[in-house]
Symmetry: C3
Subunit: 264 residues, 3 copies
């Protein structure tokens, strides 16, 4: 469905357009997300202040909302941001980190889903929890594979009118009609914190420059997965892997991406 | 008292059980703490929201409370977390960062001590300040060695019924009866921010899998110290030292730990 | 005006005196700022709590206020800190991150300017926005060069009685009378988040040990720029550049700084 050449083109679009991406994100993920966005050529801005989050979302190419470290004030800022994005027609991505781990997270995820994100990205447990099923996560980590939730993911995409992405050893992305599997990536991604959050931030950058949001999600998944594979070749452990991941996101060229991407 | 073989075993337990560790921690330490926990095989979760901190603490193997960047809201979240941990019988560790530097820090440390942490970890100045003595710290950095506070540490362990750990060139850990010195570590640890906080997080992981909490503290001190020594051999400065520290925490095997640990 | 030998001397002063630097800073910049400060020999402390920010500022050698991730609570803490610094005669530095991007940022910058910072550091767009001109920034990134704002910078220094620093390919620093250009640095600095914030933190360290605040700003600009050049020689992308930047800040010696600095 998505040809390698087209995926490579989406990377070129991100690098050329350098979209402004507003992040209402969590405290652990901020730095890595910002650095990943800059590495691919985007301009990150971070703010969860209700006084400005709506304005910033409205002038951005995309908004990323990540509930990893929830607070009351954060929820207020996130809702201001999603309202601003929706008003301005700016696409926004939800990362429901840790949903299923507490009642507060479940309620907040439900409130954010009601604001109609255009893309939802989580691990298998989180996506299952959003869909109302049994999640079985361990805190913010998944205990499920993506294959186990394939039907749930598609049903959620249909009911929510969002592109839904469940990441794992093989990533699954769907708009409810088309289902795409991305087999790039590396197990070392699970050895660093916020690697899923940084991916969600990149999906935001891709959504800012790509009309077809399923294509945006797949482009970001492929680019991130290929960069992770290249980084793993240079890593001696989780510390050097994260360093190499940013290096490779910065160096990744469309030709390499086209060559190495494994999308089906 | 603690044999090298037993210390090595505690690392195996952490890697095998992969405990969930809830962190109510500071904004500077979050990322490094999370990455250190993942590197040794634990699952970190971070939240200081009063709405969920108690629930998360109760389902975790251990709770880590670190007051490095205090706010009113943070105090509320920390107290919710310690209440949840105490109710569920989950061991919790206090890191009283910067106590002695302001009245707000002193009051907060006193409130948290009243909730009866099972382990307290600080530098020599912080432990002295907790014990009510003159601290003499410079902000969050210590101006004392651990030998200067050995008596204070033991007295604090007795009066608080907690394991108390004072870290420095040689680390001191005691439950008020047994006193253990750990001579692993490297001066480069003082060249990066939050290295003490990340150690406290690891003590949480060890406490989740080890009944004897003095043994837990000593196991984490030894593992962290040995990883730091191995990292220092590969470092060219503070930046590469932190990267190598995470790499070595990820690679550390029980045999190497047993061989290099210097506990007396 | 500023001889290379004198600039090298300021680095020696920072290393020898190891000043305590209080930071009321943003969530993305905290870790890099703290690590940069430790690398040059300073002691960072981070707190935006109104309960203690004034006390901490008053016992510090300098205060750094960085509004990158604004909230109501943060503003309260920042104003407590600047009041404490002003009362105690402690020099403070303002980094008006993202001013021009929202009304909330503009109002907050104006309130902080009214508290009379001794040094203001921003990119060209931010400095132009502070001066009341058209900024033209993209979120937190500048779309202007420093030459385009040279007159604005000098006028702002005169009207605010502060040293004003506009950073870019060539950095500009002035107290309204003397104008200094620092041509050190490397384009990779724009490939990592919070590199400007970390520089502002270093200016704080220099301000703590140098009476002439223009000299302080120039010393920090030169040291940071030279460290960035040395780091770039060792980097393969944005990830390894940041690691090398901290390494080189830690290793930088006065002789190398004197040799490589390009100040006019």
């Amino acid at each position: 469905m998505f040809k390698a050449a087209r995926i490579a083109e989406t990377l070129e679009q991100v690098r050329r357009q350098g979209p402004l991406v507003h992040n209402v994100t969590n405290l652990v993920a901020m730095t890595l997300s910002a650095n990943a966005l800059i590495a691919v050529g985007a301009s990150p801005i971070m703010s969860a202040a209700p006084e400005e989050a709506g304005d910033l979302a409205a002038i951005s190419g995309a908004l990323v909302v990540n509930m990893g470290t929830l607070t009351r004030d954060w929820v207020e800022g996130a809702l201001a941001a999603t309202a601003g994005a929706n008003r301005a027609g700016v696409p926004w991505v939800l990362d429901p980190v840790g949903v299923g781990a507490s009642a507060f997270r479940n309620e907040t995820a439900a409130r954010l889903m009601a604001e109609r994100p255009r893309i939802v990205r989580g691990n298998a447990s989180e996506v299952a929890a959003i869909a109302g099923g049994r999640a079985g996560g361990k805190g913010v980590d998944s205990t499920l594979g993506t294959d186990a939730v394939a039907d749930v993911v598609t049903a959620l995409a249909r009911s929510s009118h969002a592109v839904v992405v469940a990441t794992g050893a093989v990533d699954l992305a769907t708009d409810g009609e088309r289902v795409v599997r991305v087999a790039n990536g590396h197990p070392l991604l699970t050895s660093i914190t916020a690697s899923g959050c940084a991916l969600t931030a990149l999906i935001g950058a891709w959504a800012a420059v790509t009309k077809d949001l399923l294509e945006a999600a797949v482009g970001a998944l492929a680019a991130y997965g290929v960069a992770a594979e290249l980084a793993a070749e240079r890593a001696e452990g989780p510390g050097s892997f994260q360093v190499a991941l940013l290096d490779q996101l910065g160096r990744l060229d469309p030709a390499t991406l086209a060559e190495r991407t494994r999308v089906s």
